[in-house]
């Protein structure tokens, strides 16, 4: 069977989430990339979505491990180990 060599705007849009998340196979990634290069409207939608979700991700990652939590976890594990021995 012949492989598709180009996508319409609608076909690109249906693949946009998977493209953003690198969840398409290599061929489909290339097809979407090719369409975005040629279509300003789809490209601006893609850039917008990509930007929003990167900013959201960046904000949600601002949660450092509380000081001493690692030691408290490991102390509880060692206590469990001792009790089981």
């Amino acid at each position: 069977m012949k492989k598709i060599d180009r996508l319409t705007c609608e076909e690109t849009f249906r693949r946009l989430d998977d493209y953003l998340d690198r969840e398409l196979d290599q061929h489909e990634m290339a097809l979407v990339r090719k369409h975005l290069k040629a279509c300003d409207v789809c490209e601006s939608e893609y850039v917008f979505e990509d930007t929003i979700f990167n900013v959201v991700r960046k904000k949600l990652w601002q949660v450092p491990l509380p000081e001493g939590l690692r030691d408290r976890v490991f102390a509880r594990l060692e206590e469990m180990q001792r009790n089981e021995s």
Binding site: F48, V56, R57, L60, P64, V73, M80, S85
Partner: protein, 200 residues
């Protein structure tokens, strides 16, 4: 304690250590409370240690550990979560923020209208928006936004097919965009519907 038990414990600790910080991040966004997040991580670590014999060496430890953490969250903390208001949003149209910012003409005022709106919301406001999504979308979106996990890994943690993760994330992201936009309206970052024309 036998030598082989000691070796298994050492293996477990070396696998656990690098996932503690990511696990705490997700636990915090699930529980929305530092004390509960810390307790959830500790309980998950103890349960994982007890069940370490069931972990298959060479497979994805992080996904395995997060499955335990998520199940513990469901069984223990979800009852408390009922106290947290979940905003049932109607389905949101595709490209919600994109369309709204175009309607306001933000793209004419800034080259990056998305950044313009979202960067003015602080991390807690964004976290609140995420936490108010209905649970099935919230779980998938929390793993998606707080970890570098593939759809496959998220599916493993949630115990659902990859296609279900794909559709929950798609809908979850749309709902989150709508929620963030409403927050931006509430905080006066963008005009309320029906307000005078023009962006702030």
């Amino acid at each position: 304690m036998t030598q082989s038990n000691d070796a298994a414990a050492a293996d477990f600790k070396s696998l656990l250590e690098p996932v503690l910080e990511p696990a705490y991040r997700t636990a915090y966004h699930l529980t929305r409370n530092e004390a509960d997040a810390e307790e959830l991580v500790q309980e998950a670590a103890l349960l994982a240690f007890k069940g370490f014999g069931r972990f298959k060496p060479g497979t994805n430890f992080k996904a395995w550990f997060f499955t335990i953490l998520r199940n513990r969250f469901i069984s223990t903390y979800r009852k408390k979560q009922r106290e947290i208001k979940t905003v049932e949003l109607e389905d949101a149209p595709e490209l919600y923020m994109y369309t709204k910012s175009m309607e306001l003409g933000l793209s004419a005022q800034t080259s990056e209208p998305a950044k313009y709106v979202i960067e003015q919301l602080d991390a807690e406001q964004v976290a609140t928006a995420l936490s108010e999504l209905p649970m099935e979308f919230r779980e998938a979106a929390t793993l998606y936004f707080t970890q570098d996990m593939s759809y496959h890994d998220i599916a493993e943690v949630l115990g659902v097919p990859v296609g279900t993760v794909r559709s929950r994330l798609h809908r979850g992201r749309k709902l989150l965009q709508k929620k963030l936009w409403h927050l931006a309206e509430d905080y006066g970052l963008v005009p309320q519907p029906g307000a005078a024309e023009g962006a702030p």
